[in-house]
Amino acid sequence: MTMMFKRAVLAGAIAAVVGSVSAEAEAGDMRIAFGDLPGIESIQTLAAIERAKERGVNVELIVLNDEDLAAQAIVGGQADVGIGAPYTLIQKVGVPIRIFAQISTLRFFPVVNSEFYKDWKDLDGQEVAVQARGSGTEAVMVMMAEKHGIKLGNISYVPGSEVRRNALLQGTLKASIVDAANRRALEAEAPGKFIVLPVEDLGASDEAVFATVEYLENNAADVDMLVEELLKTGREITENPAAAVELRNKYKLLPDLGAEADKEIEEYYKETAEAGALALNGGGAEAAADDFAFFSLSGQLEGDPASLKVEDFWHLAALDRALAKLGKK
């Protein structure tokens, strides 16, 4: 509830801020639009932004309620860099934006109530709840069902991982799919009551940075710094997940969450790093291929994934420069 409420309040406040921000950015200025309220999963990005600031990029953070709005703000010139994975928009609407680095890959956890189901086979013909029609969560469930040779029954749509978590706890839902934070909350609040079903590596982008081609070409120096710092923080946290907490304390990130979030952040990044979900090399063509496959399956991209061209969605110059400087991992 607090989350939803906060979002609503923030969205209102941000609408006011965005409206008042002038459309013209000066050199060295970078307005970054988050498509979602930053949570513990954003520590890496936020730290990279702080480091880019230290190197002289004047970053202004804008938090929006929805990824679409971030893309809209970029196209409208009210923000320079967006965070999300706007493949659909690029393909369907042909907006002049390109992804220039991947931050992290998707991680979802199908969770079932252990009283009713034990593994994938038990879900044959059963009702499951996912985020929304045509969402990544639905694609994961359908993909896994196919892999295990079962057919899911009715798929219902319940937006918000935290809403599905509560419904699972209340018993309204028996099988659903949640994100990492809510999976851990489920395990903490009702130990042993739920079983997390195995999912193979998805590899698709969860968060990536994107901007207009024009901005990327005219502000290469700023963009390079951001990409380099994103790669560095990703690598640092993957090597030593405790670094996430250090970064948080150093840059005083997410102060609202208080000191008690440190433990959660450490656990989150330990798990994420083990799963290899933080992009060490910024994605690039490889990530694009994975994304094409996944988003085609989920219906967000149209056409044969093999026929989609990387350069229609990605702008690789900044990433190539950063990798040349930092080396590939």
Binding site: M1, M4, F5, A8, V9, D68, Q72, V75, G76, T88, L89, Q91, K92, V93, G94, V95, A132, R133, G134, S135, S156, Y157, V158, P159, V163, N166, A167, Q170, T172, G299, Q300
Partner: protein, 274 residues
């Protein structure tokens, strides 16, 4: 419009008899309405062609998308599911609202106990606490009906309450002087005299109910219209998204016009004019 002028003319002692004969184009309401709709569509088309935003389709694209949605059955089936919580919520709100409003209007205790609750509800930013409903009532039909009622009930209750409270005093005195019982004064004087404002409240309640059901379908679980809107938005099919939004606005408007027509035809013959 023409009927209104006639009415006022008669009430004012036939002061405007000439107007009746002057039937120019500006006296044809249907023509005027069609022109205004065409103008709106033209402005929309131009705005879509500029375009004001990459996410803003033209009117013609939207119209095509609308018929596409009708043809593939997604819009009819969406309405079928949206109308359930809407109708249940609005009907419950109408009966409950008029009942509660009448009680509040008739009794001081009721007024002090109940009216503040509805004043708070009416002025509260309801969208912010619709998600709360899910925490108590889950994600099913109950939550959606409740969302409709949260929006529809206050306006119906408050309108009824004000109408009942402000009934013409001399009519009540008349009823008393004819030795009317309490029940007779309610059924023969108070409710008929309050009915115009009660009906206005019901119309506003229905409009609020539409807001409630769409909010519920966007914020609680995407079913029906809410699902069609979110789905096409996630797929960047903006023409379909706007077509759906426009269709619910149109449906809401038509419903209100229809209710007004029913009100005048069936319940208030004195307003018919002929």
């Amino acid at each position: 419009m023409a009927t209104n002028i006639r009415l006022e003319g008669e009430a004012g002692g036939l002061a405007l008899p000439l107007r009746r004969d002057a039937v120019g184009w500006q006296d044809r309401p249907i023509l005027l309405r069609l022109i205004s709709i065409a103008l709106f569509a033209a402005i929309w088309e131009i705005a879509g062609l500029i375009p004001v935003s990459f996410a803003f389709p033209t009117f013609s694209d939207t119209l095509v998308a609308f018929f596409g949605l009708l043809a593939d059955g997604s819009l009819p089936s969406a309405y079928l599911s949206t109308l359930q919580p809407l109708v249940v919520g609005v009907v419950l709100s109408a009966f409950l609202g008029v009942g509660i409003g009448t009680i509040c209007g008739l009794s001081r205790t009721g007024e002090w106990l109940i009216v503040p609750v509805f004043i708070v509800l009416q002025s509260a930013p309801v969208a912010a606490f619709i998600p709360l409903v899910t925490f108590v009532y889950g994600i099913g039909m109950t939550a959606k009906v409740l969302a409709v009622m949260i929006l529809a009930l206050p306006v119906i209750v408050l309108n009824t309450y004000k109408a009942v409270r402000n009934v013409n005093g001399s009519l009540l005195s008349m009823c008393r002087s004819f030795l009317g019982t309490r029940w007779q004064s309610i059924s023969k004087i108070i409710l008929p005299d309050a009915s115009p404002v009660i009906f206005a409240g019901l119309r506003l309640g229905v409009a609020a109910g539409f807001v409630g059901v769409v909010l519920a379908e966007l914020l609680i679980t995407p079913t029906g219209i809410g699902d069609v809107i979110t789905f096409h938005r996630s797929r960047a099919d903006y023409a379909e998204m706007y077509a759906t939004i426009a269709s619910i606005i149109a449906l809401s408007t038509l419903t209100l016009v229809f209710l007004q027509w029913v009100e005048v035809r069936v319940f208030r013959p004195e307003k018919r004019g002929r």
